[in-house]
Symmetry: C2
Subunit: 195 residues, 2 copies
Amino acid sequence: MPDRPYHHGNLRTALLTEAERTLREQGIEALSLRDLARQAGVSHAAPRRHFADRQALLDALAETGFARLGEEMRVAIEGAGEDCEAQLRAVAGAYVRFATTDGALLDLMFGAKTATRSAGLRAASERLFTEFGDLVRRWQRGGALPPGEPERLRLLLIATLQGIASLVASDRVQAAQADALITDAVTLFAPCRHP
Amino acid sequence: MPDRPYHHGNLRTALLTEAERTLREQGIEALSLRDLARQAGVSHAAPRRHFADRQALLDALAETGFARLGEEMRVAIEGAGEDCEAQLRAVAGAYVRFATTDGALLDLMFGAKTATRSAGLRAASERLFTEFGDLVRRWQRGGALPPGEPERLRLLLIATLQGIASLVASDRVQAAQADALITDAVTLFAPCRHP
DNA sequence: ACCTGAACACCGTTCAAGT
DNA sequence: ACCTGAACACCGTTCAAGT
């Protein structure tokens, strides 16, 4: 008589949750399908039902990463009030916080050739990028960003945030330095304000 | 009678060269010490003399990556003439080219927690960052960058370049888009030129 | 100093079989 | 539909021994 039901019931979610934690605490090298199966209390072959291979699990992790980053950005904006520059600063802060706590996950999200790996991953990534497009247009109207083609400005903004996040995640920039970096970036993007 | 000498003679370099190629052509998942040893014609335990473990090889790869990126930047500057803005554009172009051809290597160079992994890697990374400091000061004098603390501007410039490179390496931005992105970035950094 | 060969524990993946 | 258990090929790492 087994002390757990034959069907786990929620194996896919359990694997992803545990994988995200292992990734955060021990890095990607420590992430193994067999180990995850062990921690979930299923056989090593069970994950195969939910993820075709290890790469599929990593893709799914990146996918949820994009969704969570988007969610945390929205929360940051809501807490920042009406001022566009404050919103921009808040989004940058949320992005940096994400990089600080989940640097290895960010690697999975923006690693080489990640854009076209799976349909779900691409879709999640594009959702975030589309959201940035909306934000850029709003912030242009509010005067926190200079005029110009929103699509081009959007890519430049994402690149800047991702670059700052990359420096933070790789431990080349500390928390205090990151704040200064965000300030400098916001000033740089602000329409013609530097002396 | 062996058809090759007992001592390889140049195993460390041979392993690194082959590893860089495999990384470029097949990605990091395909990189195995045993496979590299096979291709070099030595036993699977031989690489141990030169790299304590797999991570040490990856660190060494990242280290040579920083050296090569610096070298390619210097070459780009020399080919750009005296104009500071042309030099800035050339450096950005070299960085993007590096990201295009060696995206997986760039992941190793800027992945989570890479800054403090080995002394050699940290030193190589700091050499490139120091070089950016010199460039920023020169470009500030030449009018391609706004005045202000060079150390802060340096980080913002590196972040922007690294962010653009990240979008390129992950296939979220194509070559033509990358050119536009560089143009926009140079314009953004140019002292008060946007309308 | 540098490399070999055997050994160990671990992993991803496959597949026939079970519930 | 979901999971098990055995099997296979591969890997990183260790170590006594060889040249």
